[in-house]
């Protein structure tokens, strides 16, 4: 069972069809829409497995299918899709996680009267995401990229009657657009300098050695290579989409959307698209660009983990954890190990989807109570959710050996350790490891241990099978994905056959195990041993260092910072523009108008007597003629026909008598 | 039975062109029975000088058709009454006059077992008073039955009744057949309008609605045959069904998925076109008054009846020609039986089927009737058209493809049949009367 590259387009097409079906089904047709969406994803999953089989057969080859879209002046704009191991792994991951989340959604959304649209949007998103994955052209990727953004906007704002949701949707859309501007600029520049946007095109693609060498050779301002600039511009897009510092602010707010959306889009797939993009264009990235990427990633990882410590909303915590983990992935790319980034992307997709779905299950059971201080004691009534959530938590925290997160994180830390440029990112990553373990322990302890602190969590009971079964499957995967790492060089070989495999450093592994133990231990010491009594009682950590926690709880005041700087600047610019408009331009326009009026005055005198009189006379005569002719419009069809007949006779007579040559 | 017409080249004929048939006898099988009608024709027309022979041939054909189908009509009425009687557990007509011959008293009374019934009916019809309603449009009132019979007879002309037995060989014979058949609607209208009776007129309009509705599936159902045979000529269509696969399965169109579907659609539409039960609403004598025939009596009424039977024979004959292999024998070793006998046998089988259906099925309501045509038969016929295209496309290639077209084409027609049938079966349920017990 293998799927040739020529048919890879079927995989995004299926969800697109499902979205179409969802769009045209009547309001009540949730069953049809959800069945179409799930069916498309399951079928897509099998096709993706076929594609993976194809890709693994020739791991080094970038199988492509390109075609001309339209002619643009002298050149031809070509699109296409590519099938290589990285794309294939992403396809399998997206379709598999997507299918499970769709199934979960049938349970989660079944009370919502607009569930039909929900499945339509989800399918649209899945289609666009799969398009991003298989795109072999930066343009096609950009198109799907923007479609992904649109679907994300629609889904975050799905409950648009909530003002926060509507605001969050707008924020997400606009913030990511800022990054996309960079991507668009980079793309245009790339097309300008290479004349192609295809990644792989039998030696002519932009990622292939000829073009890369060419780009490296060109220098622009400041001695930077052209490829550095283009790479950084493309990175802007990834920063926006993947919630990297400083454009991470939209991601936590995006949690206003339904939880399956958070799981699918804002944890597993879409936010990973930025990482995927950077891995895809990795050949284009110069060491200069990589430095920027590495430091951005490291800062994001540390910052996300710090903020997550002080959050109270279960989904917010997971959101900042996502930000942090995405930072890890960027860090991996920056330090040159994009394979580790992709590995972490895959494992993260599974356990973070698991965590979000588990959170969704909790929220669903607790009647939409999201504050962990108000939960508690759910271990008893929600056994399945608890068990699977715990597996996800351990995978995220990096509990050794059994859980996939450990291996992927290990790979990243190892790569960071081996980076020649600086060890600073490595240490930031280590700090984040401790913090991750800490805040996840806190989350577990607050949510599942202790006793129920509110009415809602007291009466919580296990979610339906349509929600728990995906949880179980994802939990199994979160463990089983360790196998990808086990024959350690295997994934490395498949993804990047050229790179040489390095043996794992045992010392580094021990260090990180110790750090995880410290994180979990301290978390348990503070939150687990003595559990919270009341929902309103103070946080033990906040009691000790109130200032820091308040600062972190306010998300390091980024929103306020932006409000104070960017928005103020914007407002100032607007005011300046307004003033310029009102006084300078307006004055000029008014002056011109005065001149015009004067000229008009002069003109009118000549006009009224000379020209106007003439026009009036012409108009009058035209109107009279029209009246005269309209009298011929008798409404008598016989008359018309008679006229035609007589006209015909006259014509024939003229031709026959006069026109004969 | 009728006249041989085979043009020296099919493209170069003019009306009623008749070619000397002696050349043809050599090509046809030279058995005596097979050639008997042609030889009879030649014996009669050979008496005339050559320039007049085509007129003689034409007259011969007309006389032959009227004689054969007139007799057939007579005995079909009897057969119908007998069969209906048997189905309804009664004897049917069995007391037709038993003639006695005064000059040969020794013969005594001759029992005819009711076989003389048609002649008795004929005498009765001829001697009844011919009533024309006051205020009727007398000319049209007279013309309507005549026109109906004329059109019905015209359709018989292009049917090949046997090898070399076709009165008029046309390049577009099938089209001619249905063009002439379409004209019968006019006669129905004339009858209804000329009677100056509002019920007649209403019934005529209803009959027209039915005829027009069923014209469409009727026309659409034979188009696949024309596509496959590649000709509109009835002779060529019969020719296309010649031969046997594996030596015993005839190449009849009815034995293919599309052909079978087309045949069934054709027969259902033919039932409606010839006003036969269960589609006999135009003259449903037991519940509506006799429709556009209300004001007719005597021999004009008999004409209408004759036209109905002629139409039935013509449509059955066309069905035989298009789908059942025409005059061809079903098995190779049965070819010794003359071709016209085979044609007659198939024709009679179909007509007896008509009678069987009449005795079995209840009548439809008018709304069910039209809905059945527009929502069931027409879509199915259109699908069958596409089905035939699939069949033709698949038959060009490999043997595997040729084998695969059987299930594929069967599925293409069966699935919509089941689906449409399921979707509509509810609308043919008996009406429930709310206030009646």
């Amino acid at each position: 069972m293998s799927l040739p590259v020529q048919y890879v387009w079927l995989i995004p097409l299926l969800p697109l069809l499902a979205a179409g079906i969802g769009a045209v089904t009547p309001r009540g047709g949730v069953k049809i829409a959800s069945a179409a969406a799930i069916g498309a994803m399951v079928l897509g999953f099998f096709l993706s497995c076929g594609a993976l089989a194809t890709a693994l057969a020739h791991p080094a080859a970038h199988a492509t299918a390109n075609f001309a879209w339209f002619d643009l002046g002298a050149g031809t704009l070509r699109l296409g899709w590519v099938l290589d191991p990285i794309a294939a792994f992403m396809l399998v991951m997206v379709t598999f996680v997507g299918a499970l989340i769709f199934i979960f959604s049938t349970g989660y959304m079944h009370e919502d009267e607009r569930a039909k649209q929900f499945f339509c949007f989800l399918s649209l998103f899945a289609s666009a995401m799969l398009g991003v994955v298989i795109a072999n052209s930066l343009l096609l990727l950009f198109i799907c990229w923007e479609l992904v953004g649109l679907a994300s906007y629609l889904l975050i704002g799905f409950w648009f009657h909530k003002p926060e949701a509507a605001a969050a949707a707008k924020k997400a859309f606009i913030t990511t657009r800022i990054g996309d501007l960079g991507l668009l600029l980079g793309m245009l520049w790339l097309y300008d300098s290479t004349g192609s946007l295809l990644f792989y095109d039998g030696g002519h693609g932009v990622l292939e050695p000829t073009a890369v060498a060419n780009l490296n050779a060109q220098l622009v301002f400041g001695g930077l290579a052209l490829s550095t600039v283009i790479g950084l511009l493309i990175f802007c897009g990834a920063v926006g989409k993947s919630g990297q510092f400083p454009l991470h602010v939209w991601l936590p707010d995006a949690m206003e959307g339904p939880t399956p959306v958070s799981a699918l889009i804002h944890a597993a797939t879409m936010v990973a698209a930025g990482v995927f993009l950077m891995a895809r264009v990795y050949p284009l990235l110069t060491p200069d660009a990589l430095k920027v990427i590495a430091f951005t990633g490291a800062i994001t990882a540390l910052m996300g983990a710090l903020i997550a410590v002080a959050q109270n909303d279960i989904k917010r915590i997971l959101a900042f954890s996502t930000v942090s983990q995405l930072g890890y992935m960027m860090l991996a790319i920056g330090v040159g190990s994009w394979v580790a980034a992709i590995f972490h992307l895959l494992t993260h997709a599974f356990f973070k989807a698991l965590l979000f779905l588990g959170a969704g299950s909790v929220i669903h059971a607790a009647h939409h109570e999201q504050d962990i201080r108000s939960l508690g004691g759910l271990r008893g009534p929600m056994k399945v959710t608890f068990a699977t959530f715990a597996i996800g938590m351990m995978a995220l925290a990096g509990v050794p050996f059994l859980f996939s997160g450990f291996w992927s994180k290990e790979a990243i830390l190892h790569a960071a350790h081996g980076w020649e440029v600086s060890h600073l990112p490595f240490y930031m990553g280590l700090t984040a490891v401790v913090l991750t373990a800490f805040y996840m322990t806190r989350l577990m302890a607050e949510t599942f241990f202790g006793k129920a602190r509110t009415h809602a969590s007291e009466h919580a009971h296990e979610s339906p099978a349509s929600m728990t079964i995906p949880l179980v499957i994802l939990a199994v995967c979160a463990v089983a994905l360790s196998l990808l790492a086990w024959p350690s060089p295997w994934l490395q070989h498949i993804l990047d056959p050229k790179a040489h495999a390095e043996g794992g450093g045992a010392g580094l592994m021990v260090l990180s195990i110790v750090l995880v133990a410290i994180g979990i231990g301290s978390g348990w010491a503070i939150y687990g041993r003595t559990t919270r009594e009341k929902a309103t009682s103070a946080d033990p950590l906040a009691a000790r260092v109130p200032g820091v926690i308040a600062f972190l709880g306010a998300r390091m005041k980024f929103d306020e910072l932006y409000a104070a700087t960017v928005f103020q600047l914007n407002a100032a610019l607007a005011t300046a523009a307004d003033l310029l408009d009102r006084y300078v331009w307006d004055a000029a326009v008014r002056l011109l108008a005065q001149i015009g009026i004067f000229a008009g005055l002069v003109n009118r005198e000549t006009d009224e007597d000379g020209l106007n009189g003439g026009f009036d006379a012409t108009s009058e005569s035209l109107r009279d003629t029209g009246k005269a002719y309209s009298r011929a419009q008798t409404g008598d069809a016989h008359g018309y026909l008679r006229t035609v007949a007589i006209g015909f006779v006259l014509l024939v007579l003229i031709v026959m008598l006069g026109g004969r040559r | 039975m009728s006249v041989v017409v085979v043009a020296t080249s099919a493209s170069e004929w003019t009306a009623l062109r008749v070619v000397d048939s002696l050349a043809l006898v050599a090509t046809a099988t030279d058995r005596f029975l097979e050639c008997a009608p042609v030889m009879l024709r030649d014996a009669v027309t050979g008496l005339l000088p050559d320039p007049w022979r085509w007129i003689a041939n034409g007259l011969f054909a007309i006389v032959a058709i009227f004689a054969v189908f007139g007799l057939l009509f007579a005995f079909l009425t009897l057969a119908e009454r007998k069969i209906l009687g048997r189905v309804q557990n009664r004897p049917g007509p069995n007391r037709a006059p038993t003639p006695t011959f005064p000059f040969a008293k020794f013969l005594g009374k001759i029992r005819t077992y009711g076989l003389a019934q048609p002649f008795a009916d004929g005498v009765k019809a001829l001697t009844k008073e011919d009533i024309v309603p006051d205020g009727a449009d007398k000319v049209l009132h007279f013309l309507a039955p005549v026109a109906l019979l004329a059109f019905a007879t015209l359709t018989l002309v292009v049917i090949p009744f046997g090898r070399n037995l076709v009165a008029l060989q046309l390049d577009a014979a099938v089209l001619y057949f249905f063009a002439a058949g379409a004209a019968t609607e006019l006669a129905v209208f004339m009858a209804g309008w000329a009677s100056r009776n509002k019920y007649s007129l209403l019934a005529a309009m209803r009959a027209l609605a039915q005829l027009i509705s069923y014209e469409l599936p009727l026309l659409l159902s034979w188009v696949p045959v024309v596509m496959i045979a590649g000709s509109l000529s009835t002779v060529a269509i019969v020719e296309a069904q010649a031969g046997w696969k594996f030596g015993f399965i005839p190449h009849w169109h009815v034995l293919t998925p599309w052909g079978f579907a087309g045949f069934v659609i054709f027969m259902v539409a033919a039932l409606a076109e010839s006003n036969r039960s269960p589609f006999d609403l135009p003259e449903a004598e037991s519940e509506l008054i006799a429709g556009h025939l209300t004001e007719y009596s005597g021999f004009k009424y008999a004409f209408f009846f004759m036209a109905e039977y002629f139409g039935m024979c013509a449509l059955s004959g066309m069905a035989v020609t298009l789908f059942l292999g025409g005059w061809r024998a079903p098995l190779p070793f049965l070819e010794f039986i003359p071709s016209y006998a085979w044609f007659g046998a198939k024709l009679l089988a179909l007509i007896l089927g008509f009678m069987w259906i009449r005795a079995t099925f209840p009548r439809l309501r008018i709304d069910q009737l039209t809905r059945f045509s527009w929502k069931f038969l027409v879509p199915l016929a259109l699908i069958n058209l596409g089905n035939t295209v699939v069949w033709a496309l698949m038959s060009g290639g490999s043997p595997a493809l040729a084998l695969a077209r059987w299930p594929v084409c069967a599925a293409i027609i069966v699935v919509p049949f089941v689906w449409l049938g399921r979707a509509q079966s509810a609308s043919y349920a008996p009406r429930t009367y709310r206030y009646a017990a």
Binding site: Y629, S630, R631, Q633, T634, G635, D636, A637, H638, L641 | -
Partner: protein, 105 residues
């Protein structure tokens, strides 16, 4: 003066055309006017067949093609025309063509 068959055909079609024209011009019943127009159309078709039959033609079936398409279009015309007649009837309760002149100038 002897007439060739072609000329006879043309005379036939001219005469038919004029019958249609006179009918269309003189009758007040819209249906009959329409039928007159239909007759004129048929007369035109006659010419196609006549020229096809009696003069050298570039391709063997050109005239017949013309007629077939013309018949198809005429059928469409008849359907729409008679629908219009019914609409007129519904509007003014008769189908006198002279009275259908609301839009006169």
């Amino acid at each position: 003066m002897s007439l060739s068959p072609l000329q006879l055909c043309l005379l036939f079609s001219s005469a038919l055309f004029c019958v249609g024209l006179v009918g269309a011009l003189s009758r007040s019943n819209t249906i009959l006017v329409l039928l007159g127009v239909e007759l004129m159309l048929n007369a035109a078709n006659l010419n196609f067949i006549a020229f096809w039959r009696f003069s050298p033609s570039p391709s063997p079936a050109t005239g017949v093609m013309f007629v077939i398409f013309s018949i198809a279009v005429a059928a469409a015309e008849a359907a729409v025309g008679l629908a219009l007649v019914i609409a007129i009837y519904r509007h003014q309760k008769n189908i006198r063509l002279q009275e259908a002149n609301r839009l006169k100038g």
